[in-house]
Amino acid sequence: MNKKLIFFAVSLIWIAVAVGLIISKQHIIRTGKTVLLETVPVDPRDFLRGDYVILRYKISSIDLQKTASERSYYEYGRKVYVKVEPGERSWEATAVNTKMPVSDNRVYIKASVRSCYNKKLELNYGIESYFVPEGVGKGIEKNMQGNKSSVRVEVLVDSSGNALINKLVAQ
């Protein structure tokens, strides 16, 4: 097989994969609605990508008795759509659906079920890591200590419910 052709084919695949990944994320940035979420953080170190802050959100834990929900139990790994609405300090979860409602202008964030026990639903939104310059993580963590988080996260959500962290917002 022509090696030059292989080189071009491999280069194209690599560029396509990289650009595709960027475009899929840029789409969220361009079309996403801005949502402000409250956090509870930790600060580990990822072997692959430097310092980052692990973020937990107030909406990561939902009480199914107090929130409108299609079901009273969700199995592990199930995809759900959480309806969020602006609250006093930040946006709050108001409903949990198993399907994305069509022609609804409200904001839904896609999540996967981490656990569901005693009507407490624990969720992952895929926005639990925020990468920061080396050494900065500790400072951010310090700012976030205590029960009342002093840092919130600005998240962009597209029409399919995919979320992306835009920035950390200090109070």
């Binding site: 097989m1 491999v10 994969v17 990289a18 692959l48 990508r49 992952n124």
Partner: protein, 553 residues
């Protein structure tokens, strides 16, 4: 309980096997002076190749194929490339903020494609730089990983989705490995797929069926002539199958096992396929047990039976060890299922006695194989002996004998009684056929009868703690003496030395057993040290003296 014992034994078995195999391979040298010299004589035209073959066949030696030597330049380029690649990944990891993120990505992608181009140019367009070209292709593949990691970092892809990053790294480098025939990149992709498999299963808590499919359909067929790459993938599959035991992915381990077996049937010269298939079927059996504890896995008999058939058909003695281990594990898991079904509690003592009878049965198969001229009598005997010795050694501890739960597990009891009958029939048949007529065979029979009688005492009367302790310790001494006498009789000093080792082990453990409870630990260590010193010197002196006498005739 049984499962944890079996799993830990199996884990250690696999680890030790892999270490021993790797170390042995690393230090493998021609086993004789002739194997080294014959190729040299042929090279200098002192003898022809046919004459060389004739000389080697006279001494039943195989021709040693000289391993490819890695030249210094190749090593240095490779090390340099790995350093630069790692440097770039760490550079990305340090999250350099001064350059805009999209520009950083574009820059890294340009460097990656540039390196790929340089690799292509040096490999195929310029003469004399093949090694540099290969190394640059590897470097480009490492840079590609850096680029993907950088994009993941810019868009804050969570660490729980690292499997996604690894997959996007691994898949696009496969064409480089295949079409540029780059072994280094093939190895990199194989290792990345192994990491991806574990990250994917760990993050999503589901069985990763894509992994074996990718390996069986792409990686193994394309690594047909690349031993290292092939073995890395085989180990990856074995690890994936082993992982299934802990997460109850029974269908995945079955898929891997069947796939490995099919690979062996398609490429019989790679024996690792069959060895790992055998181990993988054992993992499947364990997984099946963890999933449905009340259902004995009768289907396991099919693959293990077929493995045994292949072991004999293709004369693979190492595989017999795996098959026997698999049979033992299979029988124990089945008995454990039956015990749970009928609500019999687990009893340590009965479990050990049953294992000992199983070992004796396997040894008996070795005796029959020897008499009838079947294959592998030594493997059966060695395996059986090892099992019996471990059981007898453990049962010689008073504390372990006292673990009897006061309740009888009829399943293990019936199992032991059936084995007792089988062993007795084997022995009667062997005695009738004159198997134990000469002195060395009579010594062997003494050891077998001692173990048989000892186990029988434990089976019939598990509550007589003192009697059982004396009986099992006596069996251990008989083992040591039989090895010593057999070694002298056959003039085989390794058997003799084994007897000495068993004897020394017996003395030391009994000393610890008896004196450990003493309050004065300093006295325990001083006296123990003196006993070991004295015993060691005395036994070594005796051993050397007898071995010298053996040699002199």
């Amino acid at each position: 309980m049984i499962l944890s014992i079996l799993l830990s034994l199996l884990t250690w078995g696999v680890i030790i096997f892999v270490i021993v195999k790797s170390v042995a391979r690393a230090f493998k040298k021609p086993s004789s002076w002739l194997q080294r010299e014959v190729p040299l004589w042929e090279e200098k035209n002192i003898i022809s190749k046919e004459q060389g073959d004739a000389v080697l066949s006279l001494y039943k030696l195989k021709r040693v194929v000289a391993g490819k030597k890695m030249d210094m330049v190749k090593v240095l380029t490779l090390v340099g490339v790995i350093f630069v690649g790692l440097g770039v990944i760490f550079f990305v990891g340090s999250n350099w903020q001064r350059i805009p993120s999209l520009f950083r990505t574009a820059m890294l992608l340009a460097i990656t494609i540039g390196t790929l181009y340089a690799g292509y140019i040096f490999s195929y367009e310029k003469d004399g730089f093949v090694n540099l070209g290969k190394s640059l292709l590897l470097l480009a593949s490492l840079f590609w990983g850096g680029t993907i990691a950088l994009i993941g970092q810019i868009y804050n892809i969570p660490t729980s989705e690292n499997w996604y990053i690894i997959l996007l790294w691994a898949f696009p480098i496969v064409p480089v490995a295949l079409f540029f025939k780059n072994n280094y990149v093939h190895i990199l992709a194989s290792v990345l797929f192994i990491i991806w498999n574990f990250l994917y299963s760990g993050s999503n808590s589901i069985a990763n069926y894509y992994y074996p499919l990718i390996i069986f359909l792409f990686m193994l067929p394309t690594a047909k002539n690349l031993i290292l790459t092939r073995r890395i993938n085989i180990i990856g599959l074995l690890l994936a199958s082993f992982y299934c035991c802990f997460y109850k992915y029974e269908w995945l381990s079955l898929l891997i096992s069947v796939g490995l077996l099919a690979c062996y049937l398609a490429q019989k010269e790679e024996r690792a396929y069959l060895y790992t298939a055998c181990l993988s079927f054992i993992f499947w059996d364990i997984t099946y047990f963890t999933v449905r504890q009340l259902q004995p896995n009768i289907y396991f008999l099919l693959p293990i039976g077929y493995m045994l058939y292949l072991t004999y058909k293709d004369t693979l003695e190492k595989n017999l060890v795996f098959c026997l281990a698999g049979l033992m594990i299979g029988i124990n898991l089945a008995l454990s299922s039956f015990s749970r079904m009928f609500n019999y509690p687990f009893d340590w003592l009965q479990f050990m006695v049953f294992q000992s009878f199983l070992g004796l049965s396997i040894y008996s198969v070795g005796i029959v194989s020897r008499r009838r001229g079947y294959l592998f009598p030594v493997i059966y005997k060695m395996f059986g002996y090892l099992v019996v010795f471990i059981c007898v050694y453990l049962l010689a501890f008073k504390a372990l004998l006292g673990e009897w739960t006061q309740t009888v597990n009829n399943i293990y009891l019936i199992g032991s009684l059936i084995l007792t009958g089988i062993i007795a029939l084997f022995l009667i048949d062997a005695v009738k056929c004159g198997d134990f007529k000469n002195k060395s065979r009579r010594i062997e029979l003494t050891a077998i009868l001692a173990a048989f009688a000892g186990n029988l005492v434990l089976l019939v009367s598990p509550h007589t703690l003192l009697l059982n302790t004396i009986v099992m310790n006596s069996v251990l001494v008989v083992f040591a003496l039989c090895n010593i006498f057999l070694g002298v009789e056959l003039k085989k000093h390794h058997i003799f030395t084994l007897g000495i080792v068993i004897f020394a082990l017996f003395i030391i453990t009994r000393y610890i057993d008896v004196t450990w409870k003493l309050k004065e630990k300093s006295l325990f260590f001083i006296a123990g040290g003196l006993v070991i010193l004295f015993l060691g010197t005395f036994l070594e002196k005796q051993r050397k003296m007898i071995i010298e006498r053996m040699k002199s005739g």
